[in-house]
């Protein structure tokens, strides 16, 4: 256990930044190219989790707990968004029998 902690602390901060940026970008690309509302929603969650990981890494690096407290706020927010977002998606599924965002084209000029 001791070895693992030391090994983790040996990872330089830049690697965390790089990893989180990559995960975040995967999330952004997912939102932009996927057409299923649920998958888009999952990609958003991926973005939020990349931020969580980065916040924790910064928090350890600065030796400041407020970053980790912020992570809890983000988790709470993500939970609230899941509640509201899934309700909206279910509402749409009941009306259209689909969760594809391409059918959302009633509002165009």
């Amino acid at each position: 256990m001791e070895n693992i902690t030391q090994a983790i602390q040996g990872v330089p901060l830049n690697h965390y930044i790089l990893l989180c940026t990559i995960i975040f970008s995967i999330g952004v690309i997912g939102v932009l190219i996927r057409r299923n509302a649920i998958v888009i929603f999952m990609s958003v969650e991926l973005m939020l989790n990349a931020v969580n990981l980065l916040l924790t890494a910064f928090s350890v690096q600065h030796n400041d707990p407020s970053g980790q407290v912020f992570v809890f706020f983000i988790m709470a927010l993500a939970a609230a968004e899941v509640a509201v977002g899934l309700a909206i998606i279910v509402m749409i599924f009941r009306n259209t029998n689909s969760t594809d965002v391409n059918i959302l084209n009633k509002l165009k000029w």
């Binding site: 930044i17 975040f24 999330g27 952004v28 939102v31 509302a37 888009i40 929603f41 958003v44 973005m47 939020l48 990349a50 931020v51 980065l54 916040l55 910064f58 690096q61 600065h62 400041d64 407020s66 970053g67 407290v69 912020f70 706020f73 983000i74 927010l77 609230a80 968004e81 509201v84 977002g85 909206i88 998606i89 509402m91 749409i92 009306n95 259209t96 965002v101 959302l104 009633k106 509002l107 165009k108 000029w109």
Partner: protein, 459 residues
């Protein structure tokens, strides 16, 4: 910060009133509570504000001013909600409660002193609005608006959060004054993380205020949502988002002006052109108002591009003028749509002959939105342009003046339809509540336009 506590208690009280079927008490209680919150927040004017709640919030004059205008606009919108929600569903109390929850988020947004409060305020507001956009459960347009708003809102939250994280990574704090000190004390050695943080914050906040090129969700969401909610989104929410945007940039990023100014300048000019030119081609009054709200976001961005001591005041005046005018426009739209069932320009034909009062107030509104002198909108535009000129953004002001001229075209379309096109129609049924809101807002618009002195040097 008593206003915040009052509103939180009020929201829960209203929920209980709904539980005990006290339907007639809902509106009076909500309005009384909002009035109390308004008085409590005004009492804190000039009270020598210091950060409260362990440095989380700062209720200074800036926050008091924006809180007050947001509460007043909400009261006006709730006044026209009489008999509106009853058409949608049985459970009316929830709607009032959710609007109040959104208002709580707005209060937090305009008075934040810590980036976590900015995030929490924006999210309390947004999550409430996702629900409000979709309250017409069986109307497909409302569903679509809710889903689009939700996906885009959550997406932009991601950018905002990554921005906050980068700022934290560079400055080791979420506190605005610590970040400010960090920026001032290392003029040469600001880490690249900080710059990417600022850029991501600009992207995230531009999504929230609906500035181009991140505006694409705005027209769809504004058109699909119930009209009353659109009124709330395009007035109160927009004002609050601008207040938060301005507060962040005024306090923290002012020394980095040269870094972010060019990108905001491009965003602002793009927003103006896209908003105004697209609004010209609209057939629906509601969609036209959505595009006009995009273009007004462009004008309000001027104050942030030309950041100076006067910026807060000019955003305040502009937001007041714009909110009051938009509330009239949406109130008249609700009345007309209730009668004709359509929100096209044609449904306004011949309105002036049957309802001279309503037509007059809508005329005042359109003139104010177009920025014709002797209305509040002119004072707002005048202050924006003079702020921009004081920082020598001459080309930007010329482009904005071109846009103001384009704007006059589509605003006059409604006036022409009301006064010069005849159509067989009956009198639009109005209620005392509507007449009060219309008369009061028109009066304020004209008073600010004629005597701008009492509002134009607040801070």
């Amino acid at each position: 910060m008593n206003a915040l506590i009052t509103l939180s208690v009020l929201a829960i009280l209203v929920l209980y009133l709904g539980l005990y079927k006290a339907k007639n008490a809902l509106l009076p209680v909500t309005l009384l509570g909002l009035g109390a919150a308004l008085v409590l927040s005004i009492l804190e004017w000039n009270s020598g504000a210091a950060p409260i709640y362990s440095g989380m919030m700062l209720f200074d004059n800036f926050a008091v001013a924006f809180t007050s205008i947001c509460i007043v606009s909400t009261m006006l919108i709730l006044l026209i909600s009489k008999d509106y929600f009853e058409h949608i569903s049985e459970h009316v109390a929830e709607y009032y409660t959710i609007i109040l929850f959104a208002l709580i988020g707005i209060l937090i947004m305009v008075s934040f002193h810590n980036l976590s409060m900015l995030f929490i305020g924006i999210e309390i507001m947004s999550v409430s609005l996702y629900i409000l956009a979709g309250i017409r459960k069986h109307d497909f347009k409302s569903n679509e608006a809710a889903l689009k708003y939700f996906l885009m809102g959550a997406f932009s939250t991601g950018f905002l959060l990554l921005g906050i994280t980068f700022l934290y990574g560079a400055s080791a704090s979420f506190d605005l004054s610590t970040i400010k000190e960090y920026v001032i004390s290392n003029p040469r050695g600001i880490s690249p993380l900080f710059y990417s943080g600022v850029t991501l914050m600009i992207i995230g906040l531009s999504f929230k205020i609906g500035a181009a090129p991140f505006h694409f969700w705005t027209p769809d969401v504004y058109e699909g949502s119930p009209t009353l909610i659109t009124a709330f989104m395009s007035t109160v929410v927009k004002t609050a988002s601008f207040a938060a945007f301005l507060r962040l940039f005024m306090v923290c990023f002012a020394p980095l002006h040269d870094f972010w100014m060019p990108s905001l300048l491009v965003i602002s000019v793009l927003t103006l052109f896209i908003g105004n030119v697209t609004a010209l081609y609209q057939h629906s009054f509601k969609r036209m108002l959505a595009f006009s709200s995009i273009s007004h976001a462009g004008y309000m961005l001027f104050a942030i591009v030309a950041l100076g001591p006067l910026s807060g005041n000019s955003v305040f005046v502009y937001a007041t003028a714009y909110s009051i005018a938009s509330i009239i426009a949406f109130a008249v739209l609700i009345l007309v749509k209730r009668q004709t069932g359509s929100d096209n320009f044609e449904s306004f034909n011949g309105l002036a002959r049957k309802n001279p009062f309503i037509a007059f107030t809508l005329t005042v509104t359109m003139l104010s939105l177009a920025g014709i002198p002797l209305t509040a909108g002119f004072i707002g535009k005048f202050m924006m342009f003079s702020t921009a000129l004081s920082e020598y953004h001459i080309i930007m002001v010329i482009l904005a003046a071109v846009n103001a001229v384009i704007g006059i075209f589509y605003y006059l379309k409604v006036i022409v339809a009301m006064y010069f096109k005849s159509a067989e129609r009956n009198e639009v049924q109005s209620s005392p509540y509507f007449n009060f809101v219309l008369g009061f807002s028109a009066l304020i618009t004209i008073i600010i336009g004629v005597y701008p002195g009492f509002i134009s040097n607040f801070f």
